[in-house]
Amino acid sequence: MQINPSAKHKLIRNSVRHFAETELAPIAAEIDRNAAFPLNVIAKMKKLNYFGLQVPKEFGGAAMDSISAAIVMEENSRVCAAVGLCVAVHNGVAVYPFLQFATPEQKKHYLPKLASGEIIGAFSLTEANAGSDSASVETTAVKKNHEYILNGTKIFVTNGGVCDLALIFALTNTDQTRLQSSVFIVESCFSGFLRGELEDLCGMRANPVSSLFLEDCRVPEKNLLGKLGDGMKIGMTTLDNGRIGVAAQALGIAQGAFEAAVKYAKERQQFKKPIASLQTIQNYIADMATEIAAARLLLYQACSLKDEGAPFGCEAAMAKLYCSQIASKVTSMAVQIHGGYGYSKEYDVERYFRDAKVTEIYEGTSEIQRLVIARSVLSQLTF
């Protein structure tokens, strides 16, 4: 594993940072306030391959390695986490399962459109009674001739309000002794696909998170992803990858808040000197810098393993757990360094503070990450 960033990774970071600071920074506070999805900027990102980060070139993607892809998500989230989330979810949990499980026909049909951003993807597992307990989905898919008829309600779907395609997890066998779920590629134009109102959330407000209703939604048989009954396998594999994306978002949020805090600490005068000269503030800044550096290494380790084709689920869970925890901590400290101003919408750190929290919750709560890590560790040790 390469510890120091390569020339390529440096250039990718600089290029994405330049784009984010030019296009996203001026609107980040406003789209958060108005809960508005920035379609104009998203259109520019589509042209620059942000929606096909790891899609092979033959399908029109950028064919990036995993560290590069993580850097892209990190740098977007450093400036505007809600847009970073859109890109991370599309690439991490909507496109990735196609790369892993789709048939050649499905790849040929969907990947070029996903990579160009012509269609935006969503991943839809969570239901009212199925969160951490993902096996308890109640949405059903019943086969009828050459179609599956889907019924159920999905909630908290990231990109839900704008997605053109959602991967829907549904039960294909409801026999209580042999519950079995499968994944379906559902286009928003299919009959019986309905969107709920946008959620009014604490953070990530510019991302159109919504419910999805499936009311006798008719899905062609050929839109089954993977094999019948593969739901759990596809879900877990996809979430392993998605966690790299969440870790990258959390790290980007922490980095953004950290830089804002350092800048403020150098400018803000109290006791006739910049507060950065006070040891207490210096201690805060030292802790924040150290934790961000450690989080970054943990994240890139998971990325490296993924690129080597080695198992990376445990490391991705560690990266997700740690990056999201330090994101919450660092953003909170950034607010603290800003004092009263940090609690005001006049400064960006309160937005970072709100955005960070959900990274400890979605795509597996911190508690579930610990479960994943503990299982992996305990299965390797004998007592």
């Binding site: 390529k8 290029s15 520019k44 620059l48 950028a62 990036m64 590069s68």
Partner: protein
Amino acid sequence: MLNLVVCLKQVPMVTELPWDEKTGTLRRDLAAGMMNPACKHALEAALQIKEKFSAKITAITMGPPASEEVLREALALGADEGILICDKLLAGSDTYVTSLILTAAIKRECPKFDLILCGAYTADSETAQVGPQLAEELDLPAAAYVEKLEIHGRILRVRRLVDNFRETLEMEFPALVTVSMENYKPRYTELMGLEKAFVENDVIVLGAAALGINASLFKNKGSRTKVRKVFLRKAQKENVILQGTASAVVTEFLNKYQRKISTAIGKSIEEKKLNDEE
């Protein structure tokens, strides 16, 4: 097919300009580098020519090993070839020696060029000399501070802004232009291009020996200028308090700062004021 050469320079990021107070030169090792903004505009002009006509773009830079970054960026944006002139013996060269070295590199690597594009000036030293000096050494027709280029066969027509008037000049290829930051807004880098720039392209690295550079130019010896002193210009802020009725304050404000406001917003406010009075 047109053969275009773009000369690029890596400069320190404007936010970080550490210099050595003893020698009066920039501590380039400490600052993160970026492609000089005007050079980026010159590259954009070349890319637009390439889109319109068939063209090959060779990007050349001279500097320490880290300068390769700007060549990779150029390749990512659409240049076809990158050449890095890198040799410790050439460190500290002034604009004159730099133009001699670039001349040697261009004669060796792309002798059949049609057009050389440089940034009009650099963000670090702002001499605006290398482009014109290079034209002199290569004995080329040249125009500096160009804001628009048009190509008609072998004729290059350029528009430039000098001393508050615009002039249009024509010259025949091969030629050299230095591009200002007026037009040719640089495009964003496609992620696909970034990946390609490292996987599919190589950068050619040339030292002084390969270029046959005369040893009398080494280690700053051939340079005709020397930086004697670098100092921080002290800017001082002064608060001005205007007093009186609202209309008197506004009138005084406009009278006093009209020119500054016009410069800041990019248009004259005099006309607007007259209309309001009507």
